[in-house]
Chain length 354, copies 4
């Protein structure tokens, strides 16, 4: 058996960073050699620096690791070949290129580089071929490594069924209304006084991401360019008092008319491209279609497929756009740390590491 690949987690103390720690515990390919944090956490043992919010215990190996500063030289010196980035966009903007320039591959959950034409915005069950953009990125930027990104958590849950529909029927327009979980805002994130017995019909910059990112993910790679998909998306986003799991109400206009049954069948039978299907974090299955009238529900369904499966329900006719349905996706697993990990596994295979 090959030695495990040494990896770092940047921004390891936050809600997404904690998910990385949890999901990398016992991972067959990756071994965590560095955890980084902000100035406030630096130098402390991880057990002390992180306000652990998950209901599985903090892994023993993580408890005693010293939190390092989030700097490229430090991460390089720790021996990481790949860094998972759970940094805020502003910090990511500076550190991630420094790491790639220093030869450390970056799997970023941040929004900073998602729209760069030479940076793959990647979901292995949707557009694994886009990974080839790393060649252009390395060539043009002169870096030994590269940055790959996963989309915003709401984009993630939305794009899985859209991919299947676009492939089967063609896709013209998408209305999506989100009911997003609190963990998406990080920690301390949303104050309890702001959200108890309440809904907030706004999340800064979120609608713009959800209206744009799926177009890159569903786009076609032509040579070195991703041609954005010609679909129009409209998003209304909300924060709701739910811990984990984003619920989406989606209406779509397809190019070819399709019945709800045909749509449900296409979603339930969708498979990831063969090359990415057996990666350790691949969702099994990619989607589950529920037939009860009142599912999916975040508390009951978010852990389907260890949090990597997208759950669909209520597929039915829409009198305006044609078809409507509900989507549930675990925002910090499939939509953040789990998605970045799945991407990194695909990168490791692409680079011939595994």
């Amino acid at each position: 058996m090959a030695e495990r690949i040494p990896v770092a987690i940047l921004g390891a103390t936050g809600t997404v960073g904690q998910r990385f720690v949890q999901l990398l515990d016992g991972h067959p390919w990756f071994e965590v050699v560095a955890l980084t944090g902000s100035a406030r956490s630096e130098g402390k043992p991880y057990a002390e620096a992180a306000t652990w919010l998950l209901d599985t215990p903090m892994p023993a190996w993580a408890r005693t690791m010293t939190v390092l500063p989030t700097r490229a030289d430090v991460v390089t010196r720790a021996g990481a070949r790949l860094a998972f980035s759970a940094l805020p966009a502003s910090a990511a903007r500076t550190v991630e290129p420094e790491l790639a320039a220093a030869g450390v591959w970056v799997g970023s959950n941040a929004s900073a580089y998602r729209r760069e034409p030479d940076v793959p915005l990647l979901m292995p069950e949707v557009n694994p071929d886009h990974i080839a953009l790393v060649e252009r990125q390395r060539r043009e930027r002169g870096w030994p490594a590269a940055i790959i990104t996963n989309p915003n958590c709401t984009t993630t849950g939305l794009t899985v069924p859209l991919k299947a529909l676009a492939h089967a029927f063609g896709l013209e327009a998408v209305m999506v209304v989100s009911l997003q979980a609190l963990s998406g805002a990080g920690y301390p994130g949303v104050p309890s006084l702001a959200i108890m017995d309440n809904v907030i019909p706004y999340i800064p910059n979120e609608e713009d991401k959800v209206e744009w990112e799926p177009r890159k993910l569903l786009g076609s790679l032509r040579g070195d360019e991703v041609e954005l998909a010609g679909v129009t998306i409209s998003a209304h986003v909300h924060r709701v008092p739910v811990l984990d799991g984003h619920t989406l109400a989606v209406s779509v206009r397809l190019r070819t008319t399709a019945s709800p049954d045909a749509v449900a069948e296409v979603l339930a039978s969708y498979q990831a491209p063969e090359a990415t299907r057996d990666l350790p974090s691949a969702p099994r299955p990619v989607m589950v279609v529920r037939h009860e009238p009142d599912r999916p529900q975040p508390r009951l369904d978010r852990m389907t497929g260890r949090g990597m499966t997208t759950v669909i329900g209520r597929v039915r006719p829409d009198p305006i756009l044609g078809i409507k349905f509900s989507v549930l996706s675990h925002n910090t697993i499939r939509g953040a740390a789990g998605g970045a990990l799945y991407n990194a596994e695909w990168l490791a295979r692409y680079l011939g590491w595994r």
Copy 2:
């Protein structure tokens, strides 16, 4: 000063019944002479029969009233000229016609008769002229009194801005996604184990009501017939962990293109038809348009205008339908008891009682 009009509340112990008791406390025109309930409550003092859930104290006059059986003869004998019905649809179907036949006017919050062609589905700030249907109803059914109805709580919040838009710009299509409060399901209603840390993307029969009822409310009275408005509506409904106040994400396609500013201006300046504007329960103003990016919010905004005002926010372009915005409406005040009361005030004026 005229004597107050004696009224009954049917189904007075439930969440909507309690709102009737609260809102009728000190009402300038109406005086409660009877409270009715189910077999379980019958014969008990109201203070004992009702699990009072409101944060204002139960009015003293109500505490000691004996809960009567929900029967037309009993209500008639109690001297009521008008009965507010907070009954479930099945009970309403039987009792309400018996009351009208016995000469007691019925202001019903139930869905049982909303779609009857001779029963007005009424919102005084939207379609007060529809009240004339009571003439046809009395004539055709041979009743001395009649039934008037108010719409479903989600329909209510939606229809207020739709009316203003239909009038100013014409209206073709409406996509609405609701995040509905728990009080809409009554008591005991939604179990806490079902909704804490959760969202339920379904409410039985609700989408059908929201897709149909606004068409009658926005329709034109031609002679004795309401011609349904030619607007297509698509609804996705959700139950969320909020006590009171339904939040709606609305996208509309107007007949005439309008900018978000023009739409906001039309909504903010909309006034009820003059005849209903000064009724005791009239919303003042009909709508408030908020300009902060993150409003309306149910906990903060539901009591605007004593719970009768519809609050609008986030008016902005929609890339698919043209315009989108958020709506908040208090579901048990404007959307139920307060709405029925406002209707009854309009009826009292129409009948020349006030």
Copy 3:
């Protein structure tokens, strides 16, 4: 390997019944051969009869089992040698003796027989020797089998540390204030309108159970009699908006003065009597003592030791009674289904089945 012991679950569709189904999935000793429910559920497949509320999927074997009526003849005919009872006390009172008389051992979570002098009230890490009462029960009642019971969920969490303290220091008086989870009230249980943004300082009959049951559990078996422990207990109970996990604030007066450190040490090192220590459901460890100032917390700590471990925190001096601390116990696992299962394992060993 021996064949697995055929068991039934009585009242299988409720919140405790569902926990039995979940915990018996893949159990090494027991195999479920019958699920029973009320008239409403009878004859339906379990998947349809139960509103499944757990976040692990319903086991496949359970989905298709037909829910049987809760009758002794039916359970006997299904071949069960042991029945787990998640029945309400009133139903338990009738059916449990019929089962024991018919030769089916009963592991009951109901309160109906806990106080009978010949019925063991049992926690294998506390008083496994009390199981010998089944001999008296069979002899006096002339039954081939017998009923064993586990205590109320709040009693359970309280009694684990009390046992260790009573053994080490002697115990005179206990003040306990509970903050109890919603799942303890079953389904539909507590209405969301009753508990959101709220606390209810009362649970019917609960304080009486918590003040009495620990005295039997901590009592000494002398011949055929349990002599109640001479400890005075005072309980204030509350329902709080938490899904699972009862939090207790406990103050104790010990017979021998002990420092907080000595108390913490005694609690952390307490072990179950050797005979019950390696049972499949035995808590490992029995107690965890946390040293952070703000633990235990129900959401973070309830799954410690797969929900069977009792978590202690904040051991400190009490100026009135001497020592105070916090306790967390999973109310539907250690405090209900898991406790009954642990008891049944001990019974199976006691009877020589394993």
Copy 4:
């Protein structure tokens, strides 16, 4: 009619500051002439600086007031004769003496000076005579004005019934377990991810305050000294997911044995000393004793007496200490801003201003 007394609110943007703004709106004696805030808020209109969290609209006069820096010279220049302080303890420690030295009376909600022997810790329905300590304070410190303080929010709710009991029966020992609302932690305060589906059995420094402050409030003023009451108090505190209203489970050992009925009668009939009984913010009545088994509840009862009345329930025997009961008190009204305002009214009368 006399001119209103000009007052300032220090720390006006936080949760307690907002309550001051709300409660001073339309106050018959006081007029707000200055609102102060931190550097972040300074110079902004209050409407922009404060994240308003109350469900009544921000008063129009407050919206446009410019937030001033929290400095004694600024407050003096604005013409305030009295300043309400909602500052954190550290800021209060510096600014409050500067104000008193500059001739501005300070009604402080902060803990900074509560334990100073020359500073009154005051509740007008409990110990109005302690106000005389301001003479000693002015004399010893050489200040033209003085600081008066109100107790911690949990102390407040507890001390009201303790005063009545101490007076009627004598008081030896008090065990109190609190279930405290989120607003007590300010804004942003408790993160939603920390408290949803959870309880936190700890609040920094809180138990110490609750175990000490009632002893000063219940103490006797002998000359210039408050002799602390000889009662032993033990507190366990918890944060729970409730917006407003602290619930307390209290057990007491009285000097004279008293029945639950006698205790309930003493609590229900307790009146504030005559001099403070008719102040504008005086609770009417001081306490309400509920007789339902499941009251008080924070959501239903916190607004009793406009949030100034303390609500008692479940008065019953305690097998260890003698008597136990539940208490509910609105933590940001009676327990903070409303309490400070009531104190200031008493000061205004004491100084002969009204």
